[in-house]
């Protein structure tokens, strides 16, 4: 070992030790929002915040499937009873009616504070007459029979009014006293967790509490067949994917390592060579994780999963070192290959997805470290007698095959044309435009979630008025004002209805004005006497109304605390919450009118909202914003990829000093990308922006192989052609294998990247070889 080699080794040991310490102390996360885009517009930020921390993120739907309906109902009741006393949950609702009665009593007792109709006019002679007449009309309808007994106390029908205000939220079906799905085959429990959706540990304890409640409930049933537990919700996804990612990273690493070890052992037939070959890989992995921790402050589980591709790529350099003779190894070509890869991965750094930034930084640091270790440390460590199996025969065979392949460029050109035609004919269905395509949650889980949401009749809201204000009272105040405008839009049949936190708890100001509009008892009595003239009811019968109204004048105003122990608290909290940094946010989801159920004239809504509360409320088009978000990020991915591609081309132009040679290197890569896209089209797999990133990586990784077929590189080292070919094939197989393993990942982000890069890298090598124009006619035995 030379003196400089000794210094190098020393430096390596120090760096590895430092990196190991950083890696050991790094922060690891599996937060799915790393692969949710960051937020370009205020409205989109609102949307993403809601997805991440909003009340919607704290929803867990539990379904019980199988066994008979009686057993399911029993289990549902036992689970709910146990979970209601559990700390992780704010609310547990399975449709047992105890809560409903409490809610109705609350609404009835506070009807003069809660009803939108309570104004001074309501208590005028004319107002009372109209309201009482309406209530009597209602008695003639079946709905009125429900409220018949209330007439003496509530002749103006305030309870009916309030129920109408809250009426949009259809409850799930019930059977055996608990909520069930539309087809009656699942019983349902809807829970709200205390922890926010992005608090994975908190969500995990909630999920565990549900599981143990289920196990206890099942154990207590007499039935021999047990139902099955299904869960869905953002928190459930977060917990499941954290577990999946951890399992996946371990699994992928083991499979990938095993494949590479078997490959290298069968090639080298030397344990020493194998161990030495893995040194750059391990160094690279350490450097990559350390760089991500230092640069981004946290390491994502998916980054570690993606890290397995580094095994396949970083091992390439030692393959070149070992197989191509030490004298003739083409360091400049390898260096250029490393640089093009870095260019490709570097274009992920400015991405709006912190997850993609991680992958980029990890790969850059990992590849650089692996290349440096291979170049400067590894040669000094090779024993003097170091030899791997002579691969000249394999290389010679490859060279012969290539030389005999006449008309290869025509075949490649034909394939390119076919690919172009395929891509063109599939252009309409090529892209997946749905934001959920990016979701790190598997399609099966997304389907289950959609099904359960239908089961609980969660409204499919497209438009929502979003109010932002400094405090709760201000937010409710604006919600009240907007509500007044929206009520007139209901009258105009622009919308069918809306939800508002102010329906559950009006602002103090509004409550006060409602309370103040109730006349003094004697006054009201006199007015009532006049109001019932001509109606089939006498004022004497309505004595209880006068008593209630008098009591209501002295009633304290309602606060959020009064909603405790009613299911109204859940409804209210779902619509009003303190934002992460920006004061309070009130949500007012809109429902379309039944006369045009799939259309809301959002321009008119915007105008009305703008008039009601200028600058304090906006209309959020959830689907539109989500689609916009997706388009923005698709565009970003395309831009980043083009920038990365351009950087690679400029680098090649600069290094090769020839536009023609650059074009010759790039063409096979471009064709590989085209063929892969055509392949996806033929298989009917739609592309997302992750596939776009994958295409960039095909160029970045594939260029490593294409460069070896560049004329000067091959000419200058004509004698090593067979060995170069052999080493390229083995290096390529290693890379393709590691990306290929990724393609079978159950984490969609990894699967998309793997399934794009693996075939792309292979095709890049094949096309480069087939299109290479200057393979020497004969090959000599290498000197090494």
């Amino acid at each position: 070992m030379t003196r400089s080699g000794g210094i190098g080794t020393l430096a390596w040991i120090v760096l590895v030790a430092v990196a190991a310490v950083i890696v050991a102390r790094a922060h690891y996360t599996t937060d799915l929002s790393a692969f949710l885009p960051r937020n370009p517009t205020a409205q989109q930020r609102l949307l993403v915040d809601q997805l991440r921390d909003g009340v919607a993120s704290r929803l867990i739907i539990v379904a019980l499937e199988g066994a008979d309906s009686h057993t399911r109902a029993q289990v549902s009741k036992a689970m709910a009873a146990r979970l209601r006393s559990d700390h992780p949950f704010v609310s547990v609702n399975n449709g047992e009616s105890a809560g409903t009665e409490r809610d109705q009593r609350f609404l009835f007792e506070h009807r003069y504070l809660l009803s939108d109709s309570v104004t001074p006019h309501r208590f005028s002679v004319a107002g009372l007459h109209d309201a009482i007449e309406d209530t009597i009309d209602l008695l003639a309808s079946p709905a009125g029979l429900l409220t018949k007994d209330l007439l003496p106390r509530d002749p103006t029908g305030e309870l009916v009014e309030i129920v109408g205000q809250l009426g949009g939220n259809a409850a799930p079906r019930s059977a055996d006293g608990v909520w069930v799905s539309g087809d009656g085959k699942r019983s349902l429990i809807v829970l709200q967790t205390r922890a926010s959706g992005s608090d994975t540990d908190g969500q995990q304890s909630a999920v565990e509490a549900i599981r143990s409640a289920f196990n206890a409930a099942v154990a207590a049933t007499a039935s021999t067949t047990h139902p099955q537990l299904l869960m869905s919700g953002p928190g459930v996804f977060a917990v499941a994917s954290r577990a999946a990612i951890i399992k996946e990273v371990t699994r992928l690493s083991i499979i990938s390592t095993a494949i590479i070890v078997v490959l290298l052992l069968s090639v080298y037939r030397s344990a020493t060579a194998l161990l030495l070959g893995l040194v750059p890989v391990a160094s690279g992995a350490l450097a990559g994780i350390a760089a991500v921790e230092l640069g981004l402050g946290v390491v994502h589980g998916i980054t570690l999963g993606f890290g397995v591709t580094l095994i396949g790529e970083a091992v390439d350099y030692s393959i070149y070192l070992f197989i191509q003779s030490r004298q003739q190894i083409v360091w400049p070509t390898i260096r250029l290959g490393v640089l093009t890869s870095i260019c490709g991965f570097a274009s992920l750094l400015p991405s709006g997805f912190s997850g993609l930034q991680q992958l980029g930084l990890y790969s850059i640091a990992g590849l650089t470290a692996a290349a440096l270790v291979t170049r400067f440390i590894l040669p000094g460590w090779l024993p003097r007698s170091f030899r791997v199996r002579d691969l000249s025969p394999l290389g010679q065979t490859l060279a012969n095959v290539l030389r005999r392949t006449r008309g290869a460029p025509i075949m490649v050109a034909a394939l390119a044309v076919v690919s172009l035609i395929v891509v063109y004919t599939h252009r309409a269905t090529l892209w997946n435009h749905d934001l959920s395509a990016l979701s790190p949650v598997s399609q099966a889980d997304q389907d289950l979630d959609a099904q359960l949401r239908v089961d609980i009749r969660a409204p499919d809201v497209r438009y929502m008025v979003v109010v932002t204000a400094a405090d709760e009272e201000a937010a409710l105040n604006v919600a009240d004002k907007v509500g007044t405008q929206l009520n007139s839009l209901i009258d105009a049949d622009v919308i069918g209805g809306f939800d508002s936190p102010a329906h559950y708890l009006p602002s103090q100001a509004v409550q006060r004005s409602r309370r103040d509009s109730i006349p003094a008892p004697d006054d009201l009595r006199a007015r009532l006497r006049k109001a019932v003239a001509g109606l089939p009811v006498s004022a004497e019968r309505l004595e209880p109304f006068l008593a209630d109204a008098a009591a209501a004048r002295a009633q304290p105003l309602l606060t959020r605390k009064d909603l405790d122990n009613t299911s109204l608290a859940t409804g209210f909290d779902a619509l009003l919450s303190s934002g992460p940094q920006r004061g309070w946010i009130a949500l007012m989801p809109l429902r379309a009118s039944p006369s045009h159920p799939s259309y809301i004239d959002d321009a008119r809504v915007r105008k009305a909202v703008q008039e009601a509360a200028p600058g304090q409320a906006t209309v959020l088009d959830i689907k539109g914003e989500a689609d916009g978000l997706y388009s923005t990020y698709l565009l970003e991915a395309v831009r980043l990829s083009l920038a990365g591609f351009a950087a690679i081309v400029i680098l090649l132009l600069f290094a090769l000093r020839s536009p023609v040679r650059t074009v010759r290197v790039v063409i096979p890569l471009a064709l590989a990308v085209l063929a892969v896209v055509a392949g996806f089209a033929v298989l009917g797999r739609q592309l997302t922006l992750l596939h776009v990133i994958g295409m960039l990586l095909i160029v970045a990784v594939g260029s490593n192989y294409a460069l070896f077929f560049d004329r000067r590189a091959t000419d200058a080292h004509a004698g090593s052609v067979p060995l170069t070919l052999a080493s390229l094939l083995i290096a390529n197989v290693a890379t393709v294998a590691s990306f290929g393993v990724l393609a079978f990942s159950s984490v969609p982000v990894l699967a998309a990247l793997g399934s794009t890069v693996a075939p792309g890298a292979l095709l890049a090598l094949i096309f480069s070889a087939l299109l290479a124009r200057h393979l020497p006619a004969t090959a000599t035995t290498p000197a090494g």
């Binding site: 008695l139 309808s141 709905a143 429900l146 018949k148 007439l151 409850a171 079906r173 019930s174 209901i490």
Partner: protein
């Protein structure tokens, strides 16, 4: 589909909506089985109906009865619609166990299954439509008076929950024509639904 009399459907309608109003009404044993079976199968044959109605409610809380009128629609197997035109327009649709009510500017959706005391009634309507007398008699004690040409069905709740709100239901008709449905509530209030002629399309 037979073009003749739609009133059996109206019977189902009236029954469904009255019951849907949260009140409950039943049918019983001891009826001349042969006749009842015959009547049931007549009723079950209906595929479609469209009639007018007048309904009077006699409520203790009011000094005089309130009256409403409108049209009833029925489509087999389980879609029923009651369109009240006077005094206030209101539309009620019962479909698959869910009531959708449109009154004024608001539309309400009410899932009958959320009211456990009504579930057996809706099941009984389905049973009637299917001609499933056995299921019906689980909930009602059914008595059939008179002959098929001029009959009166008396339905008495067999279910104690139902009995709390409904004393009995009287349905009068001739062959497969229903003339009136009277619902007597446990508290003494009652309503009488009088069915008019078929509305021609």
């Amino acid at each position: 589909m037979r073009a003749s009399n739609p009133r059996p459907a109206a019977f189902i309608l009236a029954l469904a909506f009255t019951l849907a109003g949260a009140l409950v009404c039943p049918i019983g044993n001891g009826a001349p089985s042969a006749h009842l079976d015959e009547l049931m199968s007549l009723l079950a044959q209906r595929q479609h109906g469209h009639v007018t109605f007048v309904e009077q409610h006699f409520l203790a809380v009011l000094d005089r009865p309130v009256e409403s009128s409108g049209e009833l629609f029925y489509d087999a197997p389980d879609r029923l619609e009651k369109r009240t035109l006077h005094p206030k327009p209101e539309t009620l649709v019962l479909e698959h166990g869910v009531i959708t009510a449109k009154r004024g500017r608001r539309t309400f959706t009410l899932d009958l299954s959320s009211y456990p005391q009504i579930v057996p009634l809706i099941d009984s309507i389905r049973a009637t439509l299917a001609g499933d007398r056995a299921s019906l008699e689980k909930i009602f004690k059914v008595t059939l008076d008179g002959g098929l040409d001029q009959w009166q069905l008396v339905l008495t709740p067999a279910d104690p929950v139902v009995a709390k709100s409904v004393r009995r239901i009287l349905i009068e008709g001739a062959r497969d024509i229903i003339r009136s449905v009277e619902i007597q509530q446990a508290d003494g209030d009652r309503s009488v639904l009088t069915i008019g002629p078929e509305v021609t399309q």
